[in-house]
């Protein structure tokens, strides 16, 4: 076959590969939608992180504003230390609440930030004081059972 024709075909082939990769990155994957580049790091302590994992989403009002950096256990204070990378474009007051929620009933867990009213904003290295642990299903159920049992007792008294 002629060399020029060959070159054209191979060129088309490689271009198709690049298009496919681009398609995978933008349409299938989440490269552009969660484009978190420049970040600053703050930390938060939790008694129980549930199923939160590194690289999980950090959301404010449902919008992704950052990613979980690392999660370690502090053996002296006996709690989890979670490093949070927040997009530089967003700043939050120092009295912001950090809650661990679950996306849907069986979905992945993520960290939700709810802004407080303080004038001063969080800087890199700061600590988020107000945290709420992940909801552990077993605890919830046992609580529910205990409460309903209590209610039954109350009825008996009446």
């Amino acid at each position: 076959m002629e060399r020029v024709k060959l070159d054209i075909w191979v060129g088309i082939f490689v271009a198709l590969g690049i298009i496919a990769m681009f398609y995978m990155a933008t349409r299938v994957g989440n490269l552009t939608s969660n484009d978190v580049k420049e970040t600053y790091e703050v930390k938060a302590y939790f008694e129980n992180i549930g199923g939160l994992k590194p690289r999980a989403a950090v959301k404010a009002s449902g919008v992704v504003v950052g990613r979980i950096g690392s999660i370690v256990f502090d053996p002296e204070a006996f709690h989890a230390v979670v490093k949070i990378n927040i997009d530089e474009r967003y700043s939050f007051p120092t009295d912001t609440f950090a809650n661990i929620y679950t996306a849907g009933l069986l979905g992945e867990q993520y960290l939700s930030l709810e802004a407080g009213g303080d004038e001063v904003n969080l800087k890199a290295g700061d600590l988020i004081v107000h945290t709420q642990d992940a909801v552990v299903l077993e605890k919830l159920i046992s609580q529910f059972l205990y409460n309903s049992a209590g209610e039954d007792d109350d009825k008996d008294k009446d």
């Binding site: 191979v10 082939f13 496919a20 299938v28 989440n30 490269l31 690289r55």
Partner: protein
């Protein structure tokens, strides 16, 4: 008693021969790397091989990818529907393709289509003394024949696997959204929320590069060591498919356990 001894003798011999085969393969790889600078200077040789291994494999890759995607869409839908989460069909199809089926099925098709062609071609060149003739002309067959095919395989394979995944997802979309009627927006948004570029797409691409390396090297090696007879070449071709397929599936398990834990 004699039978048992015989069995162990054969076992030992086959273990030894497969180990020495692995060693020779590694040697072939290093020789290829050494001679690659020669063949990069004349890249049109590699382009010609990309045409044969890559461009000519496009049709089989695209057609099978579309069917695989459609089957995934259909089967996934019936299973997910039982749990009331048929919107997750997009994630299922995309993850299955990007992580596993894209690289693995492409590698198997590649071994069957391009790998056998490489083995048969080199085996016949050896049989008809073309490799000897080249050597006597002070031209290294590794530089002229092996290296261009090796790089063509290494380049073609990731491209083919990416195209496979893309077409497969479109096949799943075709069935799930256009035929069955799953919500279009949910299909894509669930997919985008759960397919990670670094952890899924890049890891899938790494898999396909490893498979491309394995399949091409095995095909080249089998061609070079094929006995110079009609029977020898046909056996080498069969071996290429068998060994490549087993290596790909085995390596896939190893890579998966490294990547997605």
């Amino acid at each position: 008693m004699n039978n048992i001894l015989n069995f162990f003798e054969k076992l030992g011999a086959s273990a030894r021969s497969s180990l020495s085969g692995l060693g020779s393969c590694a040697r072939l790889f290093f020789l290829t790397i050494i001679y690659s600078s020669d063949s990069f200077k004349r890249f049109n040789l590699t382009i010609k091989e990309i045409y044969f291994t890559g461009v000519l494999s496009l049709v089989i890759i695209i057609v099978s990818a579309f069917f695989v995607g459609m089957v995934l869409g259909l089967q996934g839908y019936y299973t997910l529907e039982k749990y009331g989460s048929s919107e997750a069909i997009g994630v299922l199809v995309a993850l299955a393709l990007v992580r596993e089926l894209g690289p693995v099925v492409t590698a198997l098709l590649f071994a069957g289509r391009a790998g056998t062609a490489i083995t048969a071609e080199i085996g016949l060149m050896k049989t008809t003394e073309q490799l000897s003739a080249m050597e006597m002309m002070a031209v290294s067959p590794v530089a002229r024949i092996v290296a261009p095919r090796f790089w063509a395989g290494m380049i073609s394979m990731p491209i083919l696997a990416t195209i496979f995944s893309m077409v497969g997802i479109l096949g799943g979309y075709f069935i799930a959204v256009l035929i069955i009627g799953v919500d279009d927006g949910a299909f894509w948004s669930q997919m985008q929320a759960n397919v990670d570029f670094h952890n899924d797409i890049v890891d899938g691409a790494i898999k396909s590069i490893v498979f491309g390396f394995t399949c091409t090297l095995i095909a080249l090696y089998q061609g070079l060591v094929a006995p110079p007879t009609a029977e020898g070449v046909s056996r080498a071709t069969t071996k290429t498919v068998v060994i490549s397929s087993l290596s790909v599936l085995g390596l896939d398990f190893v890579l998966t356990s490294f990547m997605f834990v």
